[in-house]
C-alpha cells in the first residue's frame, strides 16, 4: 500500500472525527434545558448528532469525490472495474452500524431509566380509569365501564402510562402533584392538595413534580420543550409525567397532538419559581378562590356554550374573543364538559 494515500486517508479520518465531534457537541439546536432530566436527553442527542454528522460527512464525501474523480471522461466508452463484492468489507459495514445502534440502544435505555421511564407504577396499563367525560346534561360524572373504584379512592394507588419516578425516588410521593386536564382547546391545572385550579402551571424549582394527565374530549399531548418531556393526554385513561424543574423561568406548554381546529392555539405556560414564591402563589390562589373570585370552575357549565365556558381562560390560552366566537355551539350529543374531582 502506498504510504501517502494511507496518510491522506488517516488525516481525512481525523478531520472527520474532529468536525463531527465539534458539531455534535456545539450544535446549539436544543432550547434551554430547564429540568434535571433535560441535560441527559441533550447528552444523548449530542452523541447521536456526533455519530450522524460523521456518517453524513462520510457518505457525502464519498459521493462528491466519486462525482469529481470518477466522472466519465468524454469519449471513454469503457466500463469500470468489475468488482462485485468484498466479504470482509461487507462484514465490517454490517458490524459497525450494528455496534453503533447497540451502543445507542444501551445509552438510550440508561437515560430513559434515569428519567423514570421504567418506573413500574407508571408503566402499567391502569385497570381503573377516571371518569373525566360526561355527556352534556348528565347529572354527575359516571364511571366508565370497567371502573371499579371512585376516582378519589383510586388516587392513592394510581398507576399510569408515562414517565414515572426516577429510580432514586420510586415508591415515594412527589413533592408537588398536579392534575392536568386537556380539553379543546386549553390546559387546566388542578392542585389536588389545595383545590387550586389554574390555567397556568406553577411549579417550585428543584422539587419533584408529578403531573397526572387526563383528557376530556380527544387526545392531546402535553409538551414542555424546555423540559424535553411530552406525554399524550388520552380520554378514558390517565397518564403520568414525573420530573424535577430546575431553572426559574416561564416556559411554554404546547399541545403536540392534533386536537381540532384550534390545536395551534392550545397553549399554556409553566412558571418555575423558587419554592417560597410558589408557596405564596398557591396561598394567593387559595385566598382568591375562597373569596368567591372563583372563575376557574363554572359550577353549572351545562348551560354555557363552549365559547362562554372558555371565556375566563381566553387570556391564558391565548385565544381571542373572535376566536372564541368561532367555536361551534354545543351539540345535543358529544358536547363534552368537564367534571373536576378536587
Amino acid at each position: 500500500m502506498n504510504i501517502p494515500s494511507s496518510i491522506v486517508t488517516m488525516l481525512a479520518g481525523i478531520i472527520l472525527t474532529i468536525v463531527s465531534y465539534w458539531f455534535g457537541q456545539h450544535n446549539g439546536l436544543m432550547p434551554q434545558a430547564a429540568s434535571e432530566e433535560a441535560p441527559w436527553v441533550d447528552g444523548l442527542f449530542n452523541t447521536m448528532m456526533t455519530i450522524a454528522t460523521g456518517l453524513f460527512l462520510l457518505v457525502q464525501g464519498i459521493i462528491i469525490i466519486s462525482v469529481f474523480k470518477y466522472r466519465r471522461r468524454p469519449g471513454d466508452e469503457t466500463d469500470g472495474p468489475p468488482i462485485e463484492g468484498n466479504i470482509p468489507l461487507e462484514i465490517l459495514w454490517t458490524a459497525i452500524p450494528a455496534t453503533i445502534v447497540l451502543g445507542l440502544g444501551i445509552y438510550s435505555f440508561e437515560v430513559y431509566n434515569s428519567m423514570g421511564g421504567l418506573d413500574p407504577m407508571a408503566s402499567h396499563d391502569p385497570k381503573t380509569m377516571h371518569a373525566e367525560v360526561r355527556h352534556s346534561g348528565a347529572a354527575i360524572a359516571a364511571p366508565l365501564p370497567g371502573a371499579t373504584e371512585t376516582p378519589e379512592a383510586s388516587d392513592a394507588e394510581q398507576v399510569a402510562l408515562g414517565v414515572g419516578a426516577s429510580p432514586g425516588t420510586q415508591g415515594r410521593d412527589a413533592d408537588v402533584s398536579v392534575n392536568v386536564l386537556g380539553l379543546q382547546f386549553a390546559w387546566i391545572f388542578t392542585y389536588p392538595d389545595s383545590g387550586v385550579t389554574s390555567g397556568e402551571l406553577h411549579l417550585p424549582a428543584g422539587k419533584e413534580a408529578k403531573l397526572t394527565i387526563a383528557a376530556s374530549d380527544v387526545i392531546h399531548a402535553l409538551w414542555i420543550p424546555q423540559f424535553r418531556l411530552k406525554q399524550d393526554a388520552i380520554p378514558g385513561r390517565d397518564t403520568e409525567l414525573r420530573f424535577v424543574p430546575k431553572d426559574v423561568g416561564t416556559y411554554p406548554v404546547v399541545c403536540a397532538e392534533l386536537c381540532g381546529a384550534y390545536h395551534g392555539g392550545m397553549k399554556a405556560q409553566v412558571v418555575v419559581e423558587e419554592p417560597e414564591v410558589f408557596e405564596a402563589w398557591l396561598q394567593s390562589q387559595i385566598a382568591a378562590q375562597q373569596s368567591g373570585d372563583d372563575r376557574a370552575i363554572a359550577l353549572n357549565t351545562d348551560s354555557l356554550s363552549e365559547a362562554e365556558y372558555l371565556q375566563p381562560y381566553a387570556d391564558e390560552i391565548g385565544v381571542n374573543a373572535q376566536g372564541l366566537g368561532q367555536l361551534h355551539p354545543p351539540q345535543a350529543e358529544g358536547s363534552h364538559k368537564i367534571h373536576h374531582h378536587i
Partner: protein
C-alpha cells in the same frame, strides 16, 4: 448469474417505433402490463401534482404565524388530504403499481403479469379512490381533518361525511394495493423465464417481493381498523370510543401495524430502482448483490415489528418502548448495508452524470439524512421530545421526498426511453434536478430546527419566534412546486418530439433493455435467451459466458440466428 439476450438485441433499431401503443389504448381497460404501468404512472403523477398544490397551500398559510390564508378547519383538511394523496395515490401506487407493473414482467422475461385482469382492476380502483378523496372537500363539513392518521376520538367528532369518504377512499386504495401485491409475488415466483433463479433476478424484483409481502401482511389490518372506525363514526359503536368502554390506543396499534410497514412499501421499490440505476450509469457491477437482495427481506421482516415506535408518548408501557426502540434501531443495519453497497458501486466507476444518475445520487444523499434522523427518533428519550413536531415532518419528508420521490424521478428519467421510445432532454432534466434539490433542502432542512426548538406539527398558527425559519421553508416549497415544471414540459415534449431511443440507449444488461423501445405486446418477439448477469459491467462478454458452458452454447445459437 445469468441473464438473456434476444436476437433483436443485435439490431434493435430495426424494431424501434414499431410497437407504439395507440394513445386510445391508455384510456381502456387494457390488460397489457406496460399500458397499465404507464396508466399508473401518469394518473399517480397527476395526483402528485394535486397533493403538491395542497402542500403549497399549507406552506402559504405557514408563511406567517397568524391564520390568514385559509380557515383553521380547511387548514387541517388540507394537510390531511395532502398526506393521504401523497402516500396512497402517489408514492405507493407509483413505486409498486407503475414501475412494478411496467418492469417486473420485462425483467424476468415474462409476457405479462400473472393475473392481467386483476392488474387492470387494481389500477382502475385508483381513480374512484382518488376522486372520492378530492370530492370530500365539497361535502358538508368539508374533508377529513384529523390528519392522515385519523386518530379517534378526533376523527369521529369532526366532519362525518368527509371522514367517511376518507375511510372509503383508503379502503379502496388499500384493496387495490393488495391486488397488486398478490400479482407481484405470483409473477415473480412463478413466471420467471426458464433458467433464471431467484439469484439471477434484478434487484428491483427482490425489492418488489419484499414490498409485496409487507402489503399482504399489513394492509388487511388497516382495513380492519378503518372498518371499525367507520362503525364508530356512523353506527355509534364504541370500538375506539372511551365513552362506551372502547380504547383509542387500540386504533393506533392497528393503524401503525400497517402504516409503519407502509413506509417500507414505499421505499423498498425505490431501493430496487436505485439498485438498477446506479450500476448502469456507474458502469460497474452492483456491489454485494446478495447483501442488497437479502437486506430487502430483512427490512421487510423488521418493518413488521416496529410499529409502536410511533406511540412512545401515547399508550405504550416502558418495557414495550424498549423493545420497539431496539427493533427500530436494528433496521439501520440492513439499510446501512444497502447504502454502503451503493457507495461501493459508484466508487471507482465511470459515472455518467445524466439526470437519472443525478437523482440516484441525490436519493442517497437525502435518504441518508432521513435515515440518520430516523435512528435518532428511534431512541425513546429523544423521541419523547420531538414526537409530533416539525422534526418529524422534516424526517419523514427526507425519507419520503428525498428518498421515494427522488427515486421515482430517477426511475422516470432512466426508463422513459424504454416506455416511450423517445429520449428525454438532458438540460431540462438537470434543471429539474437542481431546482428540486435546492427547493427540497430549503423547505425541509430548517424544519429539524423548528421541531427541536418547540414547534409542533399540524398547526395553522405558531409562535412568532419561528416566523423567519418558516418563511424560508415556504420559499423552499414554492421552489419545489416550480421544480415540477421542467419535468412536465420535458415529459410531454419528449414523448411527442423527443429523439428516437434505441432498444438499449444506456447499454444496460437487465432484460428489459434487450427488447425494443417501447417493447412489443408480450414483450419479446422470440423467447429470450440467458447469456449475461444483470450487472456484469466491465466483464468481457466471452469471459462472462465462459463461466457456464451452457451459456456459451446459447450464445453461439444467438449469434447464428442473428448472423
Amino acid at each position: 448469474m445469468t441473464q438473456v439476450d434476444t436476437p433483436e438485441n443485435a439490431t434493435p433499431e430495426t424494431l424501434d417505433g414499431h410497437h407504439r401503443t395507440p394513445w386510445r389504448e391508455y384510456f381502456t381497460f387494457s390488460t397489457d402490463h406496460k399500458v397499465i404501468g404507464i396508466q399508473y404512472l401518469v394518473v399517480t403523477f397527476i395526483f402528485y401534482l394535486i397533493g403538491g398544490a395542497l402542500a403549497t397551500a399549507v406552506r402559504t398559510e405557514l408563511a406567517t404565524p397568524e391564520v390568514d390564508f385559509v380557515s383553521r378547519e380547511l387548514y387541517n383538511s388540507l394537510f390531511t388530504i395532502h398526506a393521504t394523496i401523497m402516500i396512497f395515490l402517489w408514492i405507493v401506487p407509483a413505486g409498486t403499481g407503475a414501475f412494478g407493473n411496467y418492469l417486473i414482467p420485462l425483467m424476468i422475461g415474462a409476457k405479462d403479469m400473472a393475473f392481467p385482469r386483476l392488474n387492470a382492476l387494481a389500477f382502475w380502483m385508483i381513480i374512484p379512490g382518488g376522486i372520492l378523496l378530492i370530492l370530500s372537500f365539497f361535502v358538508s363539513g368539508g374533508a377529513a381533518g384529523a390528519g392522515w392518521t385519523s386518530y379517534p376520538p378526533l376523527s369521529t367528532t369532526g366532519s362525518k361525511a368527509g371522514e367517511m369518504l376518507w375511510i372509503l377512499s383508503v379502503l379502496i386504495l388499500g384493496t387495490s394495493s393488495i391486488m397488486g401485491g398478490v400479482n407481484f409475488i405470483t409473477t415473480i415466483l412463478k413466471m420467471r423465464m426458464p433458467g433464471m433463479t431467484l439469484n439471477d433476478m434484478p434487484l428491483f424484483c427482490w425489492a418488489m417481493v419484499a414490498a409485496s409481502i409487507l402489503i399482504l401482511m399489513s394492509t388487511p389490518v388497516l382495513a380492519g381498523a378503518l372498518v371499525l372506525l367507520s362503525f364508530d363514526l356512523i353506527a355509534g359503536t364504541a370500538f375506539f370510543n372511551p365513552m362506551g368502554g372502547g380504547d383509542p390506543i387500540v386504533y393506533q396499534h392497528m393503524f401503525w401495524f400497517y402504516s409503519h410497514p407502509a413506509v417500507y412499501i414505499m421505499i423498498l421499490p425505490i431501493f430496487g430502482l436505485i439498485s438498477e440505476i446506479l450500476p448502469v450509469h456507474a458502469r460497474k457491477p452492483i456491489f454485494g448483490y446478495q447483501a442488497i437482495a437479502y437486506s430487502s427481506l430483512a427490512i421487510s421482516f423488521l418493518g413488521l415489528i416496529v410499529w409502536a415506535h410511533h406511540m412512545f408518548t401515547s399508550g405504550t408501557p416502558g418495557w414495550l418502548r424498549m423493545f420497539f426502540m431496539i427493533a427500530t434501531m436494528i433496521i439501520a443495519v440492513p439499510t446501512g448495508i444497502k447504502v454502503f453497497s451503493w457507495l461501493a458501486t459508484i466508487w471507482g466507476g465511470k459515472l455518467r452524470l445524466n439526470s437519472a444518475m443525478l437523482f440516484g445520487l441525490g436519493f442517497i444523499s437525502m435518504f441518508v439524512i432521513g435515515g440518520l434522523s430516523g435512528i435518532m427518533i428511534a431512541s425513546v428519550p429523544f423521541d419523547i421530545h420531538v414526537h409530533d413536531t416539525y422534526f418529524i415532518v422534516a424526517h419523514l419528508h427526507y425519507v419520503l421526498f428525498g428518498g421515494s420521490v427522488f427515486g421515482l424521478y430517477g426511475g422516470i428519467y432512466h426508463w422513459f426511453p424504454k416506455m416511450t421510445g423517445r429520449m428525454m432532454n438532458e438540460t431540462l432534466g438537470r434543471l429539474h434536478f437542481v431546482l428540486t434539490f435546492v427547493g427540497f433542502n430549503l423547505c425541509f432542512l430548517p424544519m429539524h430546527y423548528l421541531g427541536l426548538q418547540g414547534m409542533p406539527r399540524r398547526v395553522a398558527e405558531y409562535d412568532p419566534q419561528f416566523a423567519t425559519v418558516n418563511m424560508v421553508c415556504t420559499v423552499g416549497s414554492f421552489l419545489l412546486a416550480i421544480s415540477t415544471f421542467p419535468l412536465i414540459i420535458n415529459a410531454i415534449w419528449s414523448w411527442i418530439r423527443g429523439p428516437q431511443a434505441t432498444g438499449n440507449p444506456w447499454k444496460a444488461l437487465t432484460l428489459e433493455w434487450q427488447t425494443s423501445s417501447p417493447p412489443p405486446v408480450e414483450n419479446f418477439l422470440e423467447e429470450p435467451v440467458l447469456w449475461t448477469g444483470p450487472y456484469d459491467y466491465g466483464i468481457d462478454s466471452f469471459e462472462r459466458s465462459d463461466r457456464d458452458r451452457t451459456v456459451n452454447e446459447l450464445l453461439a445459437e444467438v449469434k447464428a440466428d442473428v448472423g
